[in-house]
């Protein structure tokens, strides 16, 4: 954000009474381009739309479930319907706020944002990808939802790579099974893929960092090249990544493939603990992914 704001005077940072520390440096350098709208997410989104109508590029940043749900109608009517150049940044996707309970955990946001016309959705897997996605978001002229985890999530990418909007990334090649996932859970997915490999199963791991528009080619190629597709998301299985992949594969009308969505099975996140513990409690740990993959292949 800091770099973007230096390059472009129209960039603004809006928050809903959050962003302490994270925005400190930015605020020191650009006090006139930071706006704390208070605990009024709906107002913040409409304000952002009004600012965007005058040529500003506002990044409205707060907890993911609050911005997408409290302000959903504002995102729909003021941002998407009016095609305003507003970037909505949601932090705390999935269970990263692991001891705060379901009210602070975004597990239906992908489904909501996917349903909106004119919306682009980025779901970066690690800090390097967050940076690239943020830059990409600023370059798009239109609504963007940036779904972030939190600071300190493990690195997925060992080296630099080219971030292309709407193009998935094959993190591991394989032909037995494809695991398609999004966001910070990819860390878990890669570990699961390693374990499956040691069990003799060749796993292709695909990172969908752009949920909308989604890379249909990479999905269909996986459907042709492998025997099964398992999708993994820190999100309900209703309407998120899994549904998006199923839509593509089924409407292709050609590829018979085994398929399973792994995520929250129409439940809210349960329990409290560390992020690792939350993944275990909610059946999205490495062990759960391995088991799901194995049972899928046996079907």
């Amino acid at each position: 954000m800091h770099d973007l704001a230096r390059e472009n005077k129209q960039i603004l940072a809006l928050v809903a009474d959050n962003g302490a520390i994270v925005y400190d440096e930015y605020r020191r350098e650009f006090p006139d381009r930071f706006l704390n709208c208070g605990i009024s997410e709906a107002n913040m989104v409409s304000i952002a739309a009004g600012l965007a109508s005058c040529g500003k590029i506002p990044f409205a940043y707060t907890i993911a479930c609050f911005i997408t749900m409290r302000a959903f109608e504002q995102i729909r009517d003021d941002v998407c319907l009016q095609k305003m150049n507003v970037k909505l940044v949601g932090i705390g996707a999935g269970f990263v706020y692991s001891n705060l309970g379901p009210t602070h955990q975004a597990t239906e946001d992908i489904a909501l944002m996917r349903a909106l016309p004119n919306m682009t959705i980025f779901s970066p897997a690690d800090p390097l990808e967050v940076r690239k996605a943020t830059i990409a978001a600023a370059q798009i002229n239109g609504p963007v939802y940036l779904r972030l985890a939190t600071a300190g999530t493990p690195r997925i990418y060992e080296k630099d790579y080219e971030f292309k909007v709407g193009r998935g990334v094959v993190l591991r090649e394989g032909s037995g099974l494809a695991i398609i996932a999004t966001g910070a859970i990819l860390h878990e997915v890669l570990q699961a893929a390693d374990e499956l490999k040691s069990l003799g199963i060749s796993v292709r791991v695909i990172n969908i960092h752009t949920l909308k528009p989604m890379d249909k080619e990479i999905v269909l190629k996986a459907a042709y090249d492998t025997k099964a597709i398992l999708t993994v998301e820190e999100h309900t299985v209703l309407g998120g990544l899994g549904s998006a992949v199923a839509e593509v594969v089924l409407e292709n009308n050609k590829v018979p493939i085994k398929f399973k969505r792994l995520g929250l099975d129409d439940t809210f996140p349960a329990g409290y603990g560390t992020y690792e513990e939350m993944k275990e409690i909610n059946r999205l740990s490495k062990v759960d992914i391995v088991r799901a993959a194995q049972s899928l292949l046996e079907v």
Binding site: G38, A42, S46, I47, S53, K56, Q82
Partner: protein, 273 residues
């Protein structure tokens, strides 16, 4: 001379509202009628706008937050030359640019695609804030319904605007005391309305919403206080101009039958159609 012109504009506007909605198959007649004087005064003696340059960056902005009264605004925009008057005959029909709620991209002169209540004031505050950031001196006027003030988001913006000293923002409330099902005070009363907005930090004035002279004086006087947004409570009659629609909630979204049509046309001075 000027006052006679405005009176005439108001009469013509009421006729156009009624005819357009009836021909278009349905709309919100009383809600559109109650704001006739407000819109005429704004568009013919207050707003700095140019129909030839509807997106000129220094223009004043008017946002109809109560978007369901769109037909009233369409009639004025057509009269001022923002688009061809023939579009009014197509209102609500297949192929029309004018529909039940305004679309900012298909209708020149419309600043926001309103329709869902509670959005316009916030959007307008964002526009006003942009002006402050860019040190531009255009003004933002937002017209809200009174029922609309039951939406919580209106109060989020009511808190926000004074905090940010948006004295280039003027909100007008069409205080016709009725909503869709009944009088406001039977559903959710807003009284004391002046006190509420004052306590939030707005500079408030009240006016008879059908008195052209007073409306013009008040609108010329904004901002009422340096560093504070202005609020005008316009006391109006929902359905003003058609006797059986005045103060009658049942007419919120309803078309007259042929007998009622005759009465309405008589009262408005319209040829029966």
């Amino acid at each position: 001379m000027q006052e006679i012109d405005l009176e005439k504009k108001v009469k013509e506007l009421r006729k156009t509202i009624f005819r357009t909605i009836c021909k278009g198959g349905g709309g919100h007649i009383p809600a559109s009628l109650s704001i006739a004087e407000i819109l005429v005064v704004l568009y013919y003696s207050i707003l700095r706008i140019d129909p030839q340059n509807p997106r000129e960056s220094g223009r004043d902005r008017f946002i109809l937050s109560k978007g369901h009264a769109g037909v009233a605004l369409y009639a004025i925009l057509a009269d001022k030359g923002f688009f061809d008057k023939g579009e009014l005959d197509k209102f609500g029909r297949s192929g029309a640019i004018l529909g039940g709620h305004p679309d900012m991209y298909s209708v020149p002169g419309i600043e926001a695609s309103t329709g869902s209540l509670g959005h316009g004031l916030a959007f307008g505050a964002g526009v006003a804030l942009a002006a402050k950031m860019d040190k531009k001196d255009y003004r933002v006027f937002v017209l809200l319904g009174d029922g609309e003030c039951q939406e919580g988001t209106v109060w989020e913006t009511a808190l926000f605007a004074p905090q940010h000293k948006l004295d280039n923002l003027t909100a007008i409330i069409d205080y016709n005391k009725l909503q869709a099902m009944d009088r406001l005070d039977k559903i959710i009363s807003l009284d004391p309305l002046v006190d509420k907005w004052k306590s939030f930090g707005w500079e408030v004035r009240e006016v008879d919403g059908h008195d052209i002279n007073n409306l013009r004086d008040i609108l010329k006087a904004v901002p009422f206080a340096f560093g504070k947004p202005s609020l005008i409570i316009a006391n109006t009659i929902k359905g003003k101009g058609i006797s059986f629609m005045e103060n009658a909630p049942i007419w919120h979204y309803r078309l007259p039958n042929s007998d009622e049509m005759k009465i309405a046309c008589d009262e408005l001075g319209l040829e029966y159609f």
